[in-house]
Amino acid sequence: MSFTRRDALKTGPAVALGASIPALAQAQAKGEPRRGGTVTVHMQGEQRILNPALRASTGVYVVGGKIMEPLVDLNAKGEPDPVLATSWESSPDGKTITFKLRQGVNWHDGKPFTSADVQFTAMEMWKRHLNYGTALQLYLDGVDTPDAHTAVFRYSRPMPMDLMLRAMSDLGYIAPKHVYEGTNVLENPANTAPIGTGPFKFSKYERGQYVIAVRNENYWRKGFPYLDQIVWRFIPDPAAAVAAIESGQIQISAEGALPLADLDRLKKDPKFEVSSRGNEGNAVMNTIEFNFRRKELADRRVREAIVRALDVEFFCENFLYGFAKPAKGPIPSSSPKFFPKDAPAYPFDKKKAEALLDAAGYKRGADGKRFSIRLVPAPWGEDITLWSTFIQQSLQQVGIGVEIVRYDAAGFLSNVYKDWNFDLATGWHQYRGDPAVSTTVWYRSGSPKGAPWTNQWGWQSDQVDKLIDAAAFETDPAKRRQLYADWVKRVNDEIPLWMAIERLLISVTNKSLQNHHNQPRWISSSWHDLWLSA
């Protein structure tokens, strides 16, 4: 048997990891992996496409990531782990990145995987259609293929190597050129019946019911995968999903899609592991987005007052069952490389909040009210509903009236990001390992109207824009880190928006599963080493 990631874990790094992730070391001690069996996975929603080279979304990776593979994934320590690329190198000016590709890999239809596939996918999918990919690869001029196992990415502006590598785990999936070439890539039937190089082969997709993938007997990691079959079942109703996991019909619910009260209950059941371990690559932050077109909210003092009026700690403990903690600005603590240790906190302080509001000139009126605003919460997740009511109650205490206006997903996006029809909005921000991937767009001005999850607040700062641009093209990791530290400091001072709570997605896993959640984006990863104890 070849040396695998699992073996690697058993030895040296496992000791180091044991400290931060004790359960992981424990999970390794349960004996020899067993081949065979079916794992059934809960899916809350259904994506329209299963091809992760076209859609960057956890919902796509959970299925497509077992069938297709990226150039680079993350290992147990969160560092780049070679998958379809075996090594990589950047030119000194940062404008050329060369990937050496794995040899002897075949697509599920038997054709060999070559650099032509990488070239086609990068130019036709990542650069043209992939969400976040179009921004990441904006300055990609072309991909050269000097031989079948070398792909050279040419950029017109420097591409930081560490950004590229961190982005590749999510934005670096490769699709087969021979299947897509000459077709409309968005309409290609392979988008819902993907052909990849991964450990599992697509087998069947019944819309609204399930997807099935079966073992790839010719997988390039010899001896893997362990499982015979993975079944993903679509169960949108949370109560029905809880029943399915309790009765053993499904073994994993990974996207934090179950009701918090049920998670708290299942936590005490010895049959399940309820934990956010292995979800470190998927930090979710609860935001407060200010519309600067409201003159009150354009005043920094009012924004600070609002942040200070919220007892986030209390909320996390009592409403989120302790599955969360207060955040310190745009970077979550699960990203130690960029997380600022000395971040200014705005601790809960009602008196200070009142004083700030008074100073800003919004004294309490005869009815005790200073002014009233409209809060538009996003419709995903129970936590947002609780959070928006909590905001309403808390702001009332300092004399700000809050009216909550609810919409469904489409309504929320168009009201907040297209029509700017809100005063406060609250939703999720997902941090994807590097601030450049999907975080800085929330702060960079000049975003066209209608682009969701970008700066649509009407806030503008030349200095912040400059920092963001400089960091995006800085190839020296140390300088890059410093630029982001400066950026964090600036936006934490200005509070153009506030990321108040950070938490990780919570997975419920049946204890019969072994080797699960052993890397930071585990639910999205290939699961080639997942096995089922008898």
């Binding site: 079916t38 259609h129 969400n131 609204g208 019909q249 969701p452």
Partner: protein, 325 residues
């Protein structure tokens, strides 16, 4: 022949209704904020503005509303329900995939509600004001007053999670590869809880109607005549009372077909069944206009067909209706 012309006349009369429903729904949905691309972007977790614009063009959402509606109706004339934005295939295919689960659920729930409601109603009427009547009527009241999702969830907790007798959801065991009789039994096991859940409220209604209708018919002259000519009680009830008391029950089936489609949205969600109800819900949430309109179209046809069948049943039960008087 008369039946055929009746069918055609019925269909022709419902066409304008169908048109008004579809056009109205189309315009009503324009009032909802956001479109299918917004829903899509929400689902995939973001994207940049250029890509979003391209998707809008791709789905034809950049055209004026009047043009979109015109295109839709024009396609409908040629019986083309269009293309689903969520599923990326023709709406007809999407609906045909989902129709069996809903039809199966509806037919089994309706039959169960009808049969059990009738039986209980007859018993209650025969023992009126005695303890069986009281017990049955109370039970009916409980069934009627309890929301079906609660029954569904309780059924799951008791029979699926605690006792593990029945599966908590789904249409069949996935990946088990059952065929023939084994598959039928598997599906039946999966449908047992949802059927009972959906049926209970209708059962309560049928029970009340049957009881009242029986009591009324029992007082009529021809029942007295039947008794007077010496028929035993069973023959009186079955041959004379039941047949006449059934008419209002049959009427109700036609009326409730629509309500049942609505009720199946909840039941299909609770039991994770891949049916039309859940498809309709998903289509609204994802602003998949074509699919939603397609479902309304098919549901309307379904209700029309059921009512037509009910009319035929009338004719069997009461020959005076079929004679066209």
């Amino acid at each position: 022949m008369r039946i055929l012309s009746l069918a055609l006349r019925r269909l022709a009369a419902s066409l304008p209704t169908l048109f008004v429903i579809l056009a109205g729904l189309f315009l009503l949905l324009q009032l909802a904020p956001g479109d299918t691309v917004d829903a899509l972007v929400a689902q995939m977790g973001g994207g940049d503005a250029a890509m979003i614009e391209e998707l809008r063009r791709h789905y034809g959402l950049d055209l004026p509303v009047a043009v979109q509606l015109g295109n839709y109706l024009w396609r409908l004339v040629s019986l083309d329900l269009g293309h689903s934005a969520i599923y990326g295939k023709p709406v007809v295919d999407v609906i045909l995939e989902r129709l069996p689960a809903t039809l199966l659920l509806m037919v089994s729930a309706l039959s169960f509600a009808f049969a059990a409601g009738m039986a209980l109603g007859v018993i209650a009427a025969r023992r009126v004001n005695k303890w069986p009547d009281t017990a049955i009527s109370t039970l009916g009241l409980v069934f009627y007053a309890t929301p079906s999702f609660w029954f569904g969830l309780m059924g799951i907790v008791v029979f699926a999670v605690r006792l593990a007798w029945l599966p908590p959801g789904g249409f069949e065991t996935i990946g088990a590869g059952y065929t023939g009789v084994a598959r039928v039994l598997d599906i039946a096991r999966h449908l047992l809880l949802p059927t009972v859940t959906l049926a209970l409220i209708f059962l309560a209604i049928y029970l009340r109607i049957m009881r009242a209708s029986m009591l009324e018919v029992l007082t009529l002259d021809f029942v007295r005549t039947a008794r007077a000519k010496g028929l035993n009680e069973t023959a009186v009830v079955v041959r004379h009372v039941l047949r006449n008391a059934l008419l209002p029950m049959v009427t109700l089936i036609g009326l409730q077909a629509g309500a049942m489609l609505g009720g199946s949205v909840v039941v299909e969600s609770v039991f994770a069944l891949p049916g039309l109800g859940r498809l309709a819900y998903d289509s609204v949430v994802q602003r998949d206009l074509n699919t939603l309109l397609g479902i309304v179209f098919v549901s309307a046809l379904l209700v029309i067909v059921i009512n037509f069948v009910v009319d035929l049943a009338y004719a069997r039960l009461d020959p005076r209706i079929g004679a066209g008087h």
